[in-house]
Amino acid sequence: MKGRIELILGGVGGQGILTIGTILGEAALQEGLFACLSSSYGTEARGTFTRSDLILSEDSIDFIEVTAPNVVLCLAQTACDRLLPVLSPGGEILFDSDQVTAADFSGISSKGYPVTSMALERGYPRGANLIALGLLVKRTGAVTPESVLSVLSRKIASRSSGNKEPLEAFTAGYSAVL
């Protein structure tokens, strides 16, 4: 990646928004980039709106929040409702079309994918966030898929189960973008 890319990742608590932000950040560091991930969340643990701001840059990052998002990811209707207004000109909304069903995208660059169904079809409902990560990486080119796979492999190796579902979910998302 050249220059700087700003992403907002939106969803509800428990979907793994912060997890994919962390994976992207780790992948970026591995590529020698600067990365900064900040989150705002409510006091409730699950089910309410959560937003993570991720900045990846060749240069050091001053202000920690996103001001002009290149891409806004919405994995829940409430996230879309809240984040549509902050989309900057030229920015794109990437959303889960199973979750975001009522939004006026007129005049906005948007692209929906049935992320939840894809995860269910794989028998891995918890992997929806990793499918979304694949979509995000393919559409933005923020980091290479190899970097993400290497971060994921490292995380899997540190767990006892060691299954490959996360890698496959990411790859499925990545491949879904033509």
Partner: protein
């Protein structure tokens, strides 16, 4: 833990790792948002380091426990946020009066009282200085990045030992929670510092000798038997509520820190050499300020940044120096002017001081600061 390259970690994680690297072997605390990860990590890591983690019933006892652990010869720390920091003030005073090294991390959140638990604020600047009653000196360091969280925690432990005082690491929810690249390294012996032990015979030991070098502090339980009290005491620790002793003790507690500000105060400068407008900020607001200064420079405005990484003792000389040579000083902070008042106190130069404040739980946007810079430059 040592890392080869940068790892992606939060400020809270880096504070915990910084404490372990500095040799901390005791943590007592009561978890509170947005500092809880520090307690969580300490609970996992302390046993493996040969140290101890204790979850206390509240913050009063947490502070008491780290004082006890420190007197037993261990490096000890706790972490909290506003409501807990309020409860710690009484025993923080005990650590001041007893001259007991320890590190207190306050990851600031919106207050007063329970306020907004997950939202950042910088409203505890004055509480860090004067939260515990009575005249005294105090050291307060402020990180503005995850790397700072690691580095300044190590420094906090060294300063606490060197000056036999509690040191407050005044972080905020934004910096505690943000994830960035950070390098963990083993600090040198000099960076870690050592607590001096007495070399005199036990009968000659005076734990509270006035003036001169900081008196050594042997661990409790050895040949050196001494008394720690929150009440007024003589050089041996005996009760001495008389005017002469009181005057000497209070002046000593203040002067041992205020008089050594050269060894304590640290600031960072960005583009101040030719600046006509200076921004003076700290913590998360310094990040917003840095972005604003760069934008101003891109627009041809000669702006610079003085970042205060030490808040107490206040960097009087450094702030005076910019006040004496710029048209305006902009002070962005997530409170209603606690640092701005300090800047104004030092303003003998008719310099324009512009406050930029936000207290709704959000971070200051660079544009808000840029607008103030433009106003100051005009």
């Amino acid at each position: 833990m040592e890392t080869a390259g940068p790892i992606f970690a939060s400020g809270n994680e880096a504070i915990a790792e910084g404490a372990f690297a500095a040799g901390a072997l005791f943590y007592a605390g009561y978890p509170i948002t947005p500092s809880s990860e520090i307690a969580e990590i300490a609970s996992r890591r302390m046993p493996g380091l040969g140290g101890m983690f204790v979850q206390m019933e509240d913050e009063l006892s947490s502070m008491a426990a780290i004082i006890g652990a420190s007197l037993a010869g261990k490096r000890a720390f706790t972490a909290t946020s506003g409501p807990g920091f309020s409860l710690m003030q009484e025993n923080l005073g005990m650590a001041v009066m007893g001259e007991i090294p320890c590190v207190v991390v306050n990851v600031q959140r919106s207050g007063p009282s329970t306020g907004m638990a997950t939202k950042p604020a910088q409203g505890d600047v004055m509480q860090a200085r004067w939260g515990t009653h009575g005249d005294h000196g105090i050291i307060t360091l402020v990180p503005s990045s995850v790397q700072d969280c690691y580095d300044l925690t190590i420094r906090a432990f060294r300063l606490s030992e060197e000056f036999r005082t509690p040191v407050i690491l005044l972080a905020d929810a934004a910096i505690g929670k943000v994830r960035e690249g950070v390098r963990y390294y083993p600090p040198t012996e000099e960076e870690k510092g050592v607590r001096p032990l007495p070399d005199c015979p036990p009968s000659d030991y005076r734990p509270f000798a006035f003036g001169g070098a900081t008196p050594p502090l042997p661990p409790f339980g050895g040949d050196y038997i001494y008394r720690i009290t929150g009440s007024m005491h003589d050089e041996r620790g005996g009760q001495a509520a008389n005017p002469g002793t009181a005057d000497r003790v209070i002046r000593h507690l203040t002067e041992k820190i205020e008089g050594k500000r050269d060894r304590i105060v640290s600031v960072r400068s960005l583009a101040l050499e030719d600046a006509e407008v200076a921004v003076c900020s700290f913590g998360c607001s310094a990040r917003s300020s840095k972005a604003a200064v760069r934008s101003a420079r891109n627009r041809g405005i000669r702006a610079g940044l003085l970042e205060l990484t030490t808040l107490w003792p206040f960097p009087d000389g450094e702030v005076r120096s910019i006040l004496s040579r710029v048209k305006a000083v902009i002070v962005p902070e997530l409170n209603l002017g606690q640092v701005a008042r300090e800047v104004e106190r030092l303003n003998d130069f008719s310099c324009t001081v512009v406050r930029v404040n936000r207290v709704d739980g959000g971070l200051l946007k660079p544009e808000e600061i840029l607008a103030a810079i433009e106003e100051g430059a005009s």
